[in-house]
Point group: C2
Amino acid sequence: MTLADWAATMAAILTTVSFLPQAIHVLKTRDTGAISLLMYVLFTTGVGFWEVYGWLVGQPAIIIANLITFVLAGAILFLKVRDVMGRSAPSA
Amino acid sequence: MTLADWAATMAAILTTVSFLPQAIHVLKTRDTGAISLLMYVLFTTGVGFWEVYGWLVGQPAIIIANLITFVLAGAILFLKVRDVMGRSAPSA
């Protein structure tokens, strides 16, 4: 394993794993106020493109890492969208 | 440009650009309540490793994209750390 391979592995693990505490934070607090809706729309779509790339080049590591990130970022996006829609709807 | 190249380019642009609205959101609202400190510690470190990888393999696109993400994620991390430290300090 070269130094470059090691750096890429560390980078992929850290950037993938990082969305877990954010998803847990939002799930626990139910607070999405400081979360940018546009960020998660763009980011989740971007990770979807990495997923497509992983399939096209047949790289299991890219497919798995981005699938995990897609699920975590998608969960945060879902909670944010629900909050935004909840705020604009008349309260019962 | 192959379909895989196109997917990777779209993915890199979207995931890089996505941190801009989040940084603007936090700067404008000064609210970092829903932002996970651990996420930004892990993510910014991970992007730092992508930066090292970019230099090691001599890929300007990877170097530039991750430098932008590093600055944006770093700014969000800085504001979050300042908030966390502000909360634990006695208010004047």
